[in-house]
């Protein structure tokens, strides 16, 4: 019973009271039932978590995150729908955004698919090119010493500056986007892997050498796993950069995709849809980061 006394539960009650007691003052507001369903769903999820979790700290964190979500929603709902304190055109109500979310789901899905194609193409190409190349170069000390200064010059160039040039030299927008994402993700992955290979503990290499391993085995079964922590941290930076570049490229020249969705509707001053787009991108990034986290834990389960 004691666990039920929490910020999340308090804010949930407050939200319910607010919906019932304070009348809506925004004529443009959508039907509010779906939002109530959503909040109810979140609350059920939270309560289930509360009773089923064995680790008290994790349950606590879930509760705190839920509370933050409720607090934001509460503030948003109060300033827009309930008291109408801000410009209705710039600040849509939560219910209106949710309604558009449902209404535009087909467009959003199509945009997601188009964006993911670009992202997957560029990012996968960066992984495939950067990792083996860095393994070989990092392993050959002389090559490493030659290439390292070059990476220090080329690496820090913000990849966004390549966008206009890429659009000019490549035949389609799709290709230039993939190229930009590739360049953006390549450097962090490449540089991290390179330095990771170079700093692999001498003792690990010696342990492999005394087993008389051939070169290929050394690179891919010893150096590669030993470098995996560095590769993953590079891959994470690369992914974040890829996302930034993807949306930037889409806002500049695409005719579909998530970045395009936001840019297109802001041109029409349809800020409700702009917010829909932003929230959707946030959700997509969250899901991808979640998957990457799981992958990282799996790949590095030998560390702890």
């Amino acid at each position: 019973m004691k666990r039920l006394v929490s910020a999340a539960n308090f804010l949930f009650m407050l939200l319910v009271v607010l919906f019932v007691a304070i009348p809506c003052r925004r004529p443009d507001n959508a039907v509010e039932t779906p939002l109530l369903w959503l909040v109810g769903g979140i609350q059920i999820f939270y309560l289930l978590n509360l009773v089923s979790r064995k680790e008290p700290q994790k349950a606590e964190t879930v509760g705190d995150v839920t509370a933050i979500g409720y607090a934001v929603l509460l503030a948003w709902e109060l300033t827009t729908a309930r008291y109408n304190l801000v410009d209705p055109m710039l600040y849509p109500t939560p219910s209106a955004v949710l309604q558009l979310f449902v209404k535009d789901r087909a467009d959003l899905a199509k945009g997601l698919l188009s964006s993911l194609q670009l992202l997957a193409g560029g990012y996968a190409a960066a992984l495939i090119a950067a990792i083996p190349l860095a393994l070989v170069i990092g392993w050959r000390k002389r090559l490493f010493r030659a290439v390292s200064p070059v990476t220090k010059v080329l690496g820090p160039i913000p990849p966004i500056v390549y966008i206009p040039y890429a659009i000019a030299i490549l035949p389609t927008f799709k290709m230039s986007s993939i190229f930009i994402i590739f360049v953006g993700a390549f450097w962090p992955i490449f540089i991290n892997t390179l330095n990771g290979v170079f700093t692999v503990d001498r003792k690990i290499i010696d342990s492999a050498r005394v087993l008389n391993v051939p070169e290929g085995t050394m690179l891919f079964r010893v150096i590669l796993p030993a470098t995996m922590p560095a590769i993953i941290s590079g891959a994470n930076i690369g992914l974040v950069l890829s996302f930034i570049l993807l949306t930037a490229a889409e806002m500049i020249g695409a005719t579909s995709g998530l970045g395009w969705y936001v840019k297109y509707f802001s041109d029409f001053a349809d800020y409700s849809r702009v917010i829909v787009g932003i929230i959707f991108i946030g959700l997509v990034v969250t899901v991808i980061t979640f998957v990457m986290d799981k992958l990282e834990k799996r790949l590095l389960r030998w560390r702890s």
């Binding site: 003792k203 342990s207 492999a208 050498r209 005394v210 079964r221 030993a226 389960r301 030998w302």
Partner: protein, 301 residues
Amino acid sequence: MGRLPGRPFAISEVHNNMDAISFPENITLKNVSFSYGGAENTDVLGDITLSVRKGEFVSIVGPSGCGKSTLLSLVAGLNRPTGGSIAIDGVPVSGPGRDRGVVFQHYSLFPWMTARANIVFALQQARERGSHRELAKTADRYLELVGLKEAADKFPCHLSGGMQQRVAIARAFAVDSPILLMDEPFSAVDTRNRVALQELLLKLRDNGSDRKTVLFITHDIDEAIILADRVVVLSSLTGSVREQFKVPFSRPRHRTPLLKSPDYVTLRNGIIDLFHKDESEILAAGDTDAFEASAIGGVLS
């Protein structure tokens, strides 16, 4: 030693070799020197001449900085000597080989492989025939032998230092190289586990049909004596063999009575005296007040 490499060992040339006369020479180091290059004073090994017979257990001790680990890395083929020659069964060493298994103090195991996978990997590298499943079975058998059957699926980070070294030993015996090179393998392990590991090592070595030749680096004099047939003391001043001691105790050795026996104490003190002499000579060789240094040396020795 003016013997041709590879010729069977006929008459012992080391003054204190008494048994094992008919055993052939296995590891031969002739005037081996090594330095990391650069300035003149960086000589790590000056002039090492040493031979180890097949099936012999030789401990190498010496003050820190005398280059004992370097010596082992040369025999393992990880480094090439700057001068002199190293041969295994008369064949010059040109690099690592499957005739020599090595156990290090740290990182003998690959942290990203489970205990079993570490052994299987080593077996694969040793061109051991058999499917992955068969090799895994071999691995499990050796893990059981060192009392770690349950740890087969664990990663090294989930094993204690002593357990990790057990796995490393299991791996070395699974690969079954005739020569075992060990570089302070038990130094990072607490005393109780160290004793258990020493006994395990001797037990496994006695189990096999062919007794492995062991070159064992340690800074623990008790460990050196209890395990070995011969203790080689290196000098940090000259980077060469200072003296060799035959260990006369029969096997199996029983630790507690052995540590108390007068012969043991005499042998142990003899080695410790050498260590002190070495230290005082270093002092004397330094460019501090030579007179005072030699006076201290006189007191120490």
